[in-house]
Symmetry: C2
Subunit: 171 residues, 2 copies
DNA sequence: GTTTTATAGTTAGGTGGCTAACTATAAATG
DNA sequence: CATTTATAGTTAGCCACCTAACTATAAAAC
C-alpha cells in the first residue's frame, strides 16, 4: 500500500528545483499512479474480504482453476509472485478450510501436488458474478479505445520498470 | 501487493462467458493495472530500503517538509492515508532515530506537534537526487502528451473507484 | 458544576507478507 | 557407492500495516 493520500502538487516541487534530476510532470504522474493503484488494490481486498476470502487465497484458487491436474506449491508461488514460504501458508489455510487438497507424488517424495476441491470451485462460483460486474463498473467510464491506450501505456511503464530492476538504481 | 504474476489471458476467460457480467477487456485491464501498480510499489519500496528508510517513514518526512510549523500526528495519519495507530509507530521510530521530534502543545494537553529535524532534512537531501532521477527514468519512455492522457485516465478510474466505495459493491 | 460525550494519542493483539534456516529427498561427482 | 550439492517444502521469527480498546483531556449538556 502506498501511504500518501494527499499527493504533492506542482507547487510543492518548486522549492526542489535545485535538483537537476527533478521532472515535476514525471513525479506527479508517478504519485498519481501509485495512489490509484493502491486504491484499486484496497478496493479489491475489501471486496474479497466481504466475500470471506483473502486476496492471496483468491488468487491461488484462480490459478488452480487453470489446470485440472493441479500445481506444485513452488509453481503456484511462482505464478502468484509470492515466496514458497508464503505459499505454504496460503495452501495450509485453504486446505484447512477444504478449498484445496494436497496429493503426494510418489515418483519424488519431496514434491506435492495441490488441486482445487469441489468446495473451492463452489466458492469461486458464488464470488464471480459480483466480482465481474464490480470490475466492469470500475471501468465503465472508459471506452474500448481508451482501454487500448492505457494498456499501451502500462506496457511502456513495464519497460521502465524492468530497466530499473536491471539497473538496480530503481525508484 | 497484488499476488498474481502470471496474468490471465483472454483465453482464460472463455470458459467464464456463462457470466453475463464478465467483460474480458475490463478484466484484462484491471489485472494489468494492478500488476503494474504493484510492481511500481515494490520498486519504490526497494529503492527506499536500499537508502535505509521505509516507505511509510519516507512519506512522513515528505509531508513534514511541507509545513515548517509541524503537524499533529492525526493530521499526518490523514495525509498519509494510514490509521492514527500506525502513525504512532512511524513517529516513534522516526523520533527514536532522530529524524523528527514531538513537541507538547500546552493549550491542549492531549495534542502533540511533530516536526522534522535537521537530521531528517539531511536524510531527505541524500535521497532526493537518486530518487528524482530514478523516477524520471521510469517515465522516460513517455512523452508529455502521453503523460497527460494517462493522467486523465487515472482521474476517470478514480471516479470509478469512488463510486465503488460509495456503492459498497466494490471490486 | 457535575456528568456525559467527544477527541488525541497510545497500547495490545491480529494478519499477511518477507528472509533465513532447517528437513528430507534426489541428483551429480569423485 | 559415498559424498557433495541441489531442490521442494516447511518452520521460525521479523516488519508494517490493521482494528479495537484504553487513557487522558477537553467540550457540551444537563
Amino acid at each position: 500500500m502506498f501511504c500518501m493520500k494527499d499527493l504533492p502538487t506542482r507547487e510543492d516541487f518548486a522549492p526542489l528545483e535545485v535538483y537537476a534530476s527533478l521532472e515535476p510532470s514525471s513525479m506527479l504522474l508517478f504519485y498519481q499512479f501509485l495512489r490509484s493503484g493502491s486504491d484499486l488494490l484496497t478496493i479489491f481486498d475489501d471486496f474479497l474480504i466481504s466475500h470471506g476470502i483473502s486476496q492471496g487465497r483468491f488468487v491461488v484458487l484462480l490459478i488452480l482453476r487453470r489446470k485440472e491436474e493441479g500445481f506444485a506449491p513452488s509453481d503456484l508461488a511462482e505464478s502468484a509472485g509470492v515466496t514458497r514460504a508464503t505459499m505454504t501458508g496460503l495452501v495450509d489455510g485453504l486446505e484447512r478450510d477444504g478449498f484445496v487438497k494436497r496429493y503426494d507424488l510418489h515418483e519424488d517424495k519431496r514434491r506435492t501436488n495441490v488441486r482445487i476441491t469441489e468446495k473451492g470451485e463452489e466458492l469461486l462460483k458464488t464470488i464471480f458474478p459480483d466480482y465481474f460486474s464490480s470490475i466492469a463498473d470500475l471501468m465503465s467510464d472508459m471506452t474500448d479505445e481508451e482501454k487500448r491506450i492505457i494498456s499501451k501505456f502500462l506496457l511502456k511503464l513495464d519497460i521502465g520498470i524492468s530497466n530499473s530492476k536491471g539497473a538496480k538504481s530503481v525508484a
